[in-house]
Symmetry: C2
């Protein structure tokens, strides 16, 4: 890639705004010496922060707007009133070909709705697919969809597999990610019809995918596969269940370690290990929206500078990758496989 | 209740057999001074253990059989070859009216299949509904179905709500348990059609239920409601996700606390608190099979004496409760509500 990469950033999203987004972008800029940055938002708030980061300032351009999308804005309202906001403008720059990727820590529903309207879907999903990076014993498992597309037929699940695999390679640098389909057991006869049908398509060997079959809820934290696929209903509930369990465990541990003066002393001594432990449990707070004509990365609403840096770096790596071309290749294979399986169904007596 | 309660127990199930089941029943017998016990299994193995527990021996009767169901037996095989086994006989005694409840730590699939065949379903489920007791900050939440009935329509979800509520009252002594329906968000417009329809039925106010609407994956460990209802596909995946997360956290914590000599010293000092912490995370290892004409409680395959005691006590409390009558009352209300909603649907122009 010879052309300079341009990253388009909504500086006003999330709970903190410029005091965290500006240092976050500045940290990313250090790791991306060739990139340029479009900073969308209120110049009066971004400007003073930017003064402290001359390295970034030299490669950044503030695109001023007064308007921003509130973190509790309903998606429909964000769509209706969002035009000209920092979030909208960040995405619009990708659409206009000015930038290679957009990043925002603004509200998820609004970001999905505006991305879909401005960039359009490259695949016929209801909404851009949400991806989670699931921390486990051996690293991260990419899980999708975690909440955007509630009702999914077999074809949709296979599309998630194709996209998740290409994403995992693009962002985590794994040459040939393994893929699994989330189900209630490992046998072919188990589960919903949609899941069994997707399993049959993925098992057909017609895709350039290392498909490993069914995985279960406890396989995620074991990192049994690199990419785990499920519908948005199940994925959202899984993710929230794990988050809830994690929070409960953290609280219970805190209670245990403050239950007596001796336990508190013990906790103080073990502090270094406990901080590492906490770090290990916290998933990355950046997630791409997949299925769009363009790269959009969502950073967590509570993102601090370091989290925001990670989101910018994810977007940069993702935009530089071969993702779009790979998806196109495998989607063509999917159409061919589906056409073939329909043809063979027609041949059989009903 | 004036009649003596009789509990029918498969002594050969699980990983340990009589060395754990006999002391488990003996501990339960101490808490249930009026109950009698039918002990199904190999007399040569049960007898010597029973000698050590004269209190139980005086109220127990060994029903000898050589046959038992292996823990890895497929349900179909358990059905075909299970007749006369300790598990089968334990359930048969309930069917024959000799006993009020059956308890087994044998394999779940076999127990479900044999229970269904011998006792028959009282409700038209595919299989007996599996219930989990979910540990959280304020106590236990009853979650069902966690794996038996994969495809569930709205009516089935409402039946789970009715059964879960009555079960929670019977076993946890909560006079008026609160009930929630698991979904991806709290708004009426979200989720699958089945979930939205079940929500509409439960919200109609025609049941004697304290229905609180939708809950999410992270509400379980917060104990937002006493009873959380979902289909067996989602429930199984949630349960395994939480188990996997719990195991991962435990391993990571262990790693953190052995990462340096000082951390190890700290962990030693905090040991009391950490043991309490572990205890808090471990869910009860007994679960009823719901929807049968009779009480069957499944104890965990790895159940030790104390776990097995808890399963026997759960079965006893459950069998003594008003559960069956309550279910019947609310199921009649459900039929009436469904008939009414169908009638009103017919009236509307299509």
């Amino acid at each position: 890639m010879t052309r300079t990469q341009v990253l388009s950033i909504d500086m006003m999203g999330g709970d903190h705004g410029p005091p965290e987004t500006v240092p976050g972008v500045a940290q990313a800029a250090e790791a991306l010496p060739a990139a340029r940055f479009l900073l969308h938002g209120d110049e009066a708030k971004i400007g003073p922060e930017l003064e402290r980061h001359p390295g970034l300032k030299a490669r950044a351009e503030i695109r001023h707007t007064d308007k921003s999308i509130a973190s509790d804005e309903k998606p429909a309202v964000a769509l209706r009133r969002g035009k000209g906001s920092s979030m909208w403008n960040a995405i619009e720059a990708v659409k206009a070909g000015e930038a290679d990727a957009a990043i925002s820590s603004g509200n998820t529903g609004g970001l999905m709705a505006i991305s879909k309207l401005v960039l359009r879907m490259s695949i016929d999903f209801d909404r851009p697919c949400l991806v989670a990076s699931w921390p486990g014993a051996k690293g991260l498992t990419t899980v999708l969809d975690v909440g955007a597309n509630i009702d999914c037929d077999a074809e949709r699940l296979v599309e998630f597999a194709i996209m998740g695999e290409a994403f995992h390679r693009a962002v985590h640098g794994v040459a040939r990610p393994t893929v699994g389909l989330i189900n209630v057991g490992s046998e072919d006869v188990k589960g919903h019809e949609e899941v069994r049908e997707a399993h049959a398509i993925l098992s057909s060997g017609k895709f350039d995918l290392d498909y490993r079959g069914f995985v279960e809820g406890d396989d995620l934290s074991k990192n049994t596969v690199d990419v785990a696929v499920t519908d948005g209903f199940t994925g959202n509930i899984m993710l929230k269940t794990a988050e809830g369990t994690g929070r409960y465990v953290e609280q219970a541990l805190k209670g245990a370690l403050t239950s007596s003066p001796i336990a508190m002393l013990g906790a103080m001594l073990a502090r270094g290990g406990l901080l590492q432990f906490r770090e290990k449990l916290n998933p990355p707070r950046a997630a791409p929206l997949l299925g769009l004509n363009g790269v959009v990365v969502k950073s967590h609403g509570g993102a601090k500078a370091r989290d925001f840096r990670d989101a910018v770096l994810m977007a940069s790596g993702f935009a530089q990758s071969d993702f779009a071309a790979e998806i196109e290749r495998n989607m063509k294979r999917l159409s061919a496989a589906l056409a073939e399986s329909q043809a063979s169904t027609v041949e059989e007596p009903s």
